[in-house]
C-alpha cells in the first residue's frame, strides 16, 4: 500500500477518534512526510504529530492510532516485507519459524531464544531488567509474546487477553519484589531509605517499559492479522474530555485527573479575565463633576466606577453513592480548584444521610487529600446506604436551609435515582425561593432521565435548570456559565 493511501485512512481514523484535523493540516502533513522518510520512524511520527495534533492531551490517542497504522512500516520494524498479502505471509512466516525452530534474527540477542525453557526466559528477563538492557528487553518481549500469548489468526479476542496471558506466564507481578530482593543481596551494606525508594522507582519504570514493549508487539501482530482499520476500531478510546464520568475505567480516571488540572487553570484565567473586562461600573457622579472642572464645568468626560461584580456564594450538595461518586468527586475538585472565583464555597455530601464537608477542604490545601477524607470520614449513611434524596434534602433544609440567602447559588449533583423513596421535592422549591439560583447537574445521558427510579423531572421542575454533565467538556461549559 503506498503511503498516501495509508495516510488518508490514518487521518480518517484520527477524525473518527474525535481529533479536529482540518484540511490544511492534512496537507501540511503530506508536505511534511515528503521531507522526512518513513524509515526514520521516530522523526516520522513527530512530523505527523506536529502537523496533525494541536493539543497535547490528544497525543496519546494519536500515538495509539499511529502504532496501529504504521507499526508494520519502517525498516527495523518490518515483520515481513510489506507486500500485498501481509497477513497471510506473516502467519506463514511465523509458523515456518516455529516449525524449524530457527532463531529469529531480529533484535539484538534474538537468536537462540527459542531454545530456552520458560524459567530460563524469566531469569533472562530479570537480568535484563536489572541491568536496564534495552535491546534484550525488546527481544524478550517479542519472544514471550510469540511463545505465551497463544495468538492464532482470526481469533476474536481483544489485545488485553493476550497481554494478560503473556504477563502471567512471565510472573511479572512478582518481578518487582524479586528484583528488589536481588538488589539487596548484591549490595554489601544496607541501603538507606532514599536509595531503596530510588531503586524501586527505577525498576518500576523498567517493568512498565517492558509491559509497553509486550503490548506493542501484541498490537503489531493483531494489526498484521486483522488489518489496521479493524484494529483501530477496537482500540478507539474517547478523548479525556469526552470520557463519561459514570463509566470511566481506572486508567481513564487517571487521565481525567491529569486533564482536570490544566483545565482548572485555564478556566480560572479565563474567568478572571472576563471579570475584569467587558463590564463597566455605574456612573461615578463625583468623579465626573471633578473632571468637568478642566472643561469649564462641562461634563465632557464621564467617569465610571471601578466595576466590582459580586462573586456568587456557592453551596454544592452532592450525591456520593457508588454510581455517581466519580462525578461528584470531579465536580468538587473543579469547584474547589477555582474557588477564588466565588466569595464562599460550602459543600455537602449525602447518600441517605447528609453531612457538611467544607471543613475538610479548609483544613488542607491538597484537594486530593480532602476528597479522600470526604470519602472515608463523612457521615452520610442513615439507614441502609442506598440513595435517598428525599431524606437527605429534608435534613439539609432543617440544618442549613436558613443559611441560604439571595446571594447563594445551590448546585445539586446526582442522578436522582431515589430508590422509590419519597421525593420531598418541596425542599427544592423552597430553596429556589430563597436562593439566587438552583441548578441540578445530572451525570446520566438525557435519554435515561425519568426512567426507572430516576425522578429528576420532579426535582428539575423546581430548579432554574437541569444540565446533563456526562464528561469534562460539559462540566467545564456549565461552570463557565455559572460564574
Amino acid at each position: 500500500m503506498p503511503v498516501i493511501d495509508l495516510m488518508s485512512g490514518f487521518v480518517a481514523e484520527l477524525r473518527r477518534a474525535g481529533l479536529p484535523v482540518s484540511l490544511t493540516e492534512n496537507l501540511d502533513a503530506m508536505e511534511a512526510i515528503k521531507v522526512i522518510p518513513i524509515e526514520d520512524r521516530d522523526a516520522f511520527k513527530y512530523a505527523l504529530g506536529a502537523t496533525l495534533v494541536k493539543n497535547s492531551s490528544h497525543w496519546r490517542v494519536f500515538e495509539t492510532i499511529f502504532e496501529v497504522y504504521f507499526s508494520l512500516r519502517g525498516s527495523q520494524y518490518n515483520i515481513v516485507d510489506p507486500s500485498d498479502d501481509q497477513a497471510d505471509e506473516f502467519w506463514r512466516d511465523e509458523q515456518d519459524q516455529a516449525q524449524q525452530g530457527q532463531g529469529e534474527g531480529r533484535g539484538a540477542g534474538g537468536g537462540g531464544l527459542e531454545a530456552l525453557t520458560p524459567e530460563e526466559l524469566a531469569n533472562m528477563l530479570m537480568r535484563a531488567l536489572m541491568q536496564g538492557d534495552q535491546a534484550m528487553m525488546r527481544a524478550l518481549a517479542r519472544q514471550s509474546v510469540a511463545r505465551f500469548a497463544g495468538m492464532e489468526p482470526g481469533r476474536p479476542v481483544g489485545g488485553t487477553y493476550y497481554l494478560y496471558r503473556t504477563l502471567r506466564n512471565l510472573d511479572l507481578d512478582n518481578m518487582l519484589a524479586k528484583l528488589l530482593e536481588a538488589n539487596k543481596q548484591s549490595n554489601q551494606r544496607e541501603a538507606t531509605n532514599l536509595e531503596q525508594r530510588l531503586t524501586k522507582d527505577e525498576y518500576e519504570s523498567r517493568i512498565e517499559q517492558f509491559k509497553k514493549e509486550v503490548e506493542a508487539e501484541i498490537r503489531r501482530r493483531l494489526v498484521a492479522d486483522r488489518g489496521a482499520e479493524a484494529m483501530a476500531k477496537t482500540l478507539r478510546k474517547p478523548l479525556p474530555e469526552d470520557v463519561e464520568f459514570m463509566h470511566a475505567s481506572r486508567e481513564e480516571m487517571q487521565s481525567l485527573k491529569k486533564a482536570l488540572f490544566p483545565l482548572t487553570r485555564k478556566l480560572a484565567a479565563r474567568l478572571a479575565r472576563k471579570r475584569r473586562h467587558g463590564r463597566k461600573g455605574p456612573l461615578d457622579f463625583r468623579n465626573t463633576v471633578r473632571h468637568s472642572l478642566s472643561y469649564g464645568g462641562v461634563p465632557a468626560e464621564p467617569k465610571f466606577k471601578y466595576p466590582r461584580p459580586a462573586k456568587p456564594e456557592l453551596m454544592v450538595v452532592a450525591d456520593i453513592s457508588g454510581s455517581v461518586a466519580a462525578f461528584a468527586r470531579f465536580t468538587l475538585m473543579l469547584v474547589y480548584a477555582i474557588q477564588s472565583q466565588f466569595s464562599k464555597v460550602r459543600s455537602f455530601v449525602f447518600i441517605d444521610g447528609l453531612d457538611e464537608v467544607t471543613k475538610y477542604f479548609k483544613a488542607t490545601e491538597d484537594i486530593q487529600e480532602a476528597i479522600h477524607k470526604v470519602n472515608t470520614e463523612a457521615d452520610v449513611v442513615w439507614v441502609d446506604g442506598h440513595s435517598d434524596y428525599g431524606h437527605a434534602f429534608e435534613v439539609f433544609w432543617e440544618r442549613y436551609g436558613k443559611d441560604i440567602n439571595p446571594k447563594t447559588t445551590v448546585l445539586l449533583l446526582g442522578d436522582a435515582r431515589n430508590n422509590y423513596h419519597a421525593s420531598q421535592s418541596w425542599v427544592v422549591k423552597e430553596m429556589r425561593k430563597r436562593a439566587r439560583r438552583v441548578y441540578w447537574l445530572n451525570p446520566e445521558p438525557r435519554s435515561y432521565w425519568n426512567t426507572g427510579d430516576s425522578i429528576v423531572g420532579e426535582y428539575g421542575g423546581h430548579t432554574d435548570g437541569v444540565y446533563e454533565c456526562r464528561n469534562l467538556r460539559q462540566l467545564e461549559g456549565f461552570v463557565e456559565k455559572l460564574v
Binding site: 479536529p20 521531507v35 525508594r197 485555564k266
Partner: protein, 288 residues
C-alpha cells in the same frame, strides 16, 4: 540561508553543540519547521526550555534573535509598527511654505517615518533572523489576529505604504504556557510541539552539560531523585531549571553524594510549596 539543515540528526547534533539537548521530537520539529517554512508553536510546563529552544536555534544558525514578549493589552503599535508622529510633525513644520500638500503627504508616510516593532522588523530584516513570540497565550483572542498575516504569509500590510513581504523567511517560534486555548486559526498555521519534562537519561545529560564540574555520579543521582519526585502528585512538579538550580546548590555546598539529610535540607530549591516539600520528604523517606 547557508545553514540549511539536511537531516534531523544534524539538527540534533547542532543543538547539542550549543548546549541544548534536544530529543527526537524537538529536533524533528525544528528540522521540519525550516524545511516547510512554518512557525512552531511550543507548549509545555514552565521551565522546560521552550524559550531556550528558540535562543539555541538562533545561536546554531547564527541568526539574530528578535523577541516579542506578549502581555495583556499588546496592540498593533507595539507588535507590528507605528508612525513616528513627532518626526512627522517636525517634517511638516520644517518647511511649511515650500512643499505642496501632496509632497508632504507622500513624504511623511515613507519608510523614514516608520518605527518598526518586532514583527515588522523580523519580516524586513535583510540578515537571517529567528523570531520568538513569547507567551502568546497572554494576549487576548482578538489580538492573536495580528499575528496571523505574519505567520502564514510572512508579510505585513501597512495601509499607507502597501504590503511589506519578507526578504527571507525567518524561523518563528511561539511559546505558550497553556493558560488558555489558542484560536484554531493560529494553531492551524503552526507546527505543534509539546515539550514535556525530559526522561531521566536526558535530564542527566542536561545537568552534565549545563552545570560545570559536576560528577557523573551526582548528576545520575539528581536525575533519579527528580524523576521520583515528579511521579508524586504535587501542586507544582520541579522543572528542568529547578533541577539545574538544585544541582548548582549541591555543587556549592560541596556535596558529591546526596544522602537523606542533604536532600531534606535542599528540597526547597526544587519545590516551591510547603505542602509539596512535606509530601516529597515523606514519600522519599528523608523525613526521619
Amino acid at each position: 540561508m547557508s545553514s540549511d539543515f539536511v537531516s534531523v540528526s544534524q539538527v540534533r547534533d547542532g543543538l547539542k553543540k550549543v548546549n541544548y539537548l534536544a530529543d527526537e521530537g524537538i529536533a524533528g520539529v525544528v528540522y521540519l519547521a525550516q524545511r516547510l517554512g512554518k512557525p512552531v508553536l511550543i507548549e509545555g510546563p514552565a521551565g522546560t526550555g521552550k524559550t531556550q529552544l528558540a535562543k539555541s536555534v538562533a545561536e546554531l544558525t547564527g541568526a539574530r534573535l528578535i523577541r516579542l514578549q506578549c502581555y495583556e493589552g499588546l496592540d498593533e503599535s507595539k507588535a507590528l509598527y507605528e508612525w513616528n508622529y513627532k518626526k512627522q510633525l517636525l517634517r511638516i513644520q520644517a518647511d511649511k511654505k515650500s512643499d505642496s500638500w501632496s509632497d508632504v503627504h507622500d513624504d511623511i508616510f515613507s519608510d523614514e517615518f516608520l518605527l518598526t516593532r518586532p514583527l515588522l522588523e523580523a519580516i524586513s530584516a535583510p540578515d537571517p533572523v529567528v523570531l520568538l513570540i513569547d507567551e502568546v497565550d497572554r494576549v487576548e483572542v482578538e489580538t492573536e489576529a495580528l499575528l496571523l498575516e505574519v505567520l502564514s504569509e510572512y508579510q505585513v500590510s501597512i495601509p499607507e505604504l502597501g504590503t511589506i513581504s519578507a526578504k527571507q523567511i525567518p524561523m518563528v517560534f511561539l511559546t505558550s504556557n497553556n493558560t488558555r486555548e489558542l484560536s484554531e486559526a493560529l494553531k492551524r498555521r503552526c507546527l505543534f510541539l509539546h515539550i514535556d519534562y525530559p526522561d531521566m537519561e536526558r535530564e542527566k545529560e542536561i545537568v552534565l552539560a549545563k552545570v560545570p564540574d559536576i560528577s557523573v555520579n551526582l548528576a545520575d543521582q539528581i536525575a533519579r531523585i527528580v524523576r521520583s519526585i515528579r511521579q508524586l502528585d504535587l501542586k507544582k512538579a520541579p522543572s528542568v531549571s529547578e533541577t539545574l538550580d538544585w544541582a548548582r546548590t549541591l555543587i556549592l555546598l560541596g556535596v558529591d553524594h546526596i544522602d537523606a539529610q542533604q536532600a531534606k535540607e535542599t528540597l526547597h530549591v526544587l519545590l516551591k510549596y510547603q505542602t509539596d516539600i512535606a509530601k516529597a520528604a515523606k514519600e522519599l523517606s528523608v523525613d526521619e
